[in-house]
């Protein structure tokens, strides 16, 4: 009998999630779709965003997010390996894990301040795509490290012992053996990083700035989709309509990317296996 209630509640949670999901995205899709023309995606920005297009903004978003992911994937793998490598020494792991967790918990507004100070002023990059993406990389680094660490810890004991038995150098044991085992975690970590960076507003406001022109280099200021939505919704009177349209484009963007990753997962069967009995 308890089992029936449990199954019922889990199905219930499934449907409530979809209810919430369609409440929020439905609102965006519904208001965003009326007289949504594809020219909106391609022509450029004018009249402070009220009736122009968002082509330059989409491009600077993709540049910032791609660069941030690129940087953070490499560094998160390295720091996950570093934590795993020192797992024998309890004290070091404790400090490292503590610092990673605190970094992952730092609020995005504080990252905005810090990014502004470190990248814009201290390193002299000013309001630019690169300082925005580096701040983003710093933000999504801990989440990815954490998930890759879960992967590394779940490497079966016998593979770990096998590597020691063969007296493999740490480089080979990590970069030639274990890395293949954690491909799934790397992918899901990257995807969470992607999701988080596309959704980020507070941090980028103070670092990648407000620029609307087509960025000619990484040192130009560029505005991401979420900042554009923030500015239109909160700052520009009458910007509501375009804010919803940009939110709709953002959701379409993410939908396409998640479809691509789903197919990648299925093709390289990185996805978690079902209970295949043999």
């Amino acid at each position: 009998m308890k089992n029936k209630i449990f199954i019922l509640t889990s199905w219930l949670s499934f449907f409530t999630f979809f209810a919430i999901f369609f409440a929020v995205t439905g609102n965006i899709i519904f208001t965003g779709l009326d007289n949504f023309s594809f020219s909106f995606l391609f022509n450029t920005f004018n009249n402070s965003g009220r009736d122009g297009g968002i082509s330059t903004i989409i491009i600077s978003t993709l540049i910032i997010v791609a660069f941030a992911l690129f940087v953070s994937v490499i560094i998160s793998i390295l720091s996950a390996i570093c934590i795993d490598y020192f797992s024998k020494n309890i004290r070091i792991t404790k400090i490292l894990k503590l610092s990673i967790d605190t970094l992952s918990a730092t609020p995005s507004i504080v990252f905005g301040l810090i990014g502004n100070i470190i990248f814009c002023e201290f390193l002299g990059l000013g309001y630019s795509l690169i300082s925005g993406s580096l701040t983003l990389a710093l933000m999504i680094l801990p989440i990815q490290t954490r998930i890759i660490l879960i992967g590394l810890n779940s490497v079966p004991k016998d593979i770990r012992l096998g590597a020691y038995a063969l007296n493999l150098k740490p480089f080979t044991s990590y970069f030639r053996i274990k890395i293949h085992l954690i491909k799934k975690q790397i992918l899901s970590g990257t995807f969470m990083g992607l999701g988080r960076s596309l959704a980020e507003t507070a941090a980028l406001l103070f670092t990648s700035g407000y620029g609307v022109k087509m960025p000619s280099s990484l040192l130009d200021s560029g505005r991401t989709l979420s900042i554009h939505i923030y500015d239109l919704a909160m700052n520009v009177p009458g910007g509501n309509e375009n804010a919803y349209k940009s939110a709709l484009t953002l959701i379409l963007l993410v939908f396409i990317i998640s479809l691509i990753t789903a197919t990648i997962q299925r093709r390289f069967n990185l996805g978690q296996q079902e209970f295949v009995w043999n």
Partner: protein
């Protein structure tokens, strides 16, 4: 393998390890810069005066943070209470009960939910939820609305981490459970929850820290009043919304006090981690 090849790999690994180490300690770089800009706030005002004082009027040199600290704590605690168990059950449903076709759909929708900007959540809250709640519980914006919106935002993070933890369960163990004809409830309660309790802690931890750190969405629906909330629906202000609201207009001393808020937030989370760290360490020994 030639010896030379071996040597370069060692140095390469040491170098990469150093990079990994540096970046996992990057929190200290963040702290250094925060203290550099927010540090001397301490020298001029005593700690007790700021932490336990409830008047915040920077133009009149009053910097009481106590109501905001309670605001931050209450919002994140309430949103965790709402989203934590919900995402755990949803993750288990996705992992064990959900038919195959629905699984990829749920995953894709969760990814989309994860990447909706917090502004959109705030906007949706402000335009849809607040007018609904306003007649029932004036003024509509407050602790409760902020917790609902926050709970929705931290749901996918919990879901993803719990699924990642569940995926580390060896496949044979679940096959064995099925072959002994265990019901889903006993699999969840006896096998997964009992033995993986510590591991789920990471998911809850990520959720609550994200809730503490959220700014934009909370800014729009929490009413931003500096007070101890007297009811579940009273407006409150959290530390992060305080920074966001006043950062762009803060002059020098006010600005350092906002940096101090940032420091306080990190200190908060540090203590939270220390408490959780002690029992996680016990588990690992």
């Amino acid at each position: 393998m030639s010896l030379a090849h071996n040597k370069t790999e060692d140095y390469l690994f040491k170098g990469l390890l150093l990079v990994g180490l540096l970046f996992s300690l990057s929190i200290f770089v963040v702290l250094f810069f925060l203290i550099r800009s927010g540090g001397h706030f301490f020298i001029s005002t005593s700690i007790s005066e700021t932490l336990f004082f409830d008047q915040w009027f920077p133009s009149e040199q009053l910097f009481g943070l106590a109501p905001m600290i309670t605001g931050s704590l209450l919002v994140s605690a309430l949103s965790l209470a709402l989203a934590g168990p919900f995402s755990l059950i949803l993750a288990f449903f996705y992992f064990y009960i959900c038919p195959l076709k629905l699984k990829s759909a749920l995953n894709i929708f969760m990814d989309i939910f994860l990447s909706i900007p917090s502004v959109v959540f705030g906007l949706w809250g402000l335009v849809v939820v607040v007018p609904l709640l306003a007649p029932l519980f004036p003024p509509g914006q407050g602790l409760f609305t902020a917790s609902i919106i926050l709970a929705m935002m931290i749901l996918p993070i919990g879901f993803k981490t719990f699924v990642a933890t569940l995926q580390t369960i060896p496949n044979e163990c679940l096959l064995a459970a099925k072959s002994c004809n265990l019901s889903e409830w006993s699999v969840f309660k006896d096998i997964i929850f009992k033995s993986y309790k510590r591991k789920f802690f990471v998911g809850f931890l990520l959720q609550v820290t994200r809730a503490i750190g959220e700014t934009m969405a909370v800014l729009m629906v929490c009413g931003n009043i500096i007070q101890y909330p007297d009811s579940l629906f009273a407006p409150i202000r959290t530390l992060t919304t305080n920074i966001a609201l006043e950062m762009s207009y803060a002059t020098d001393f006010h600005r350092t006090s906002l940096f101090f808020c940032g420091l306080l937030l990190i200190g908060f989370i540090f203590i939270l981690l220390l408490i959780s760290r002690t029992d996680e360490m016990k588990y690992e020994k």
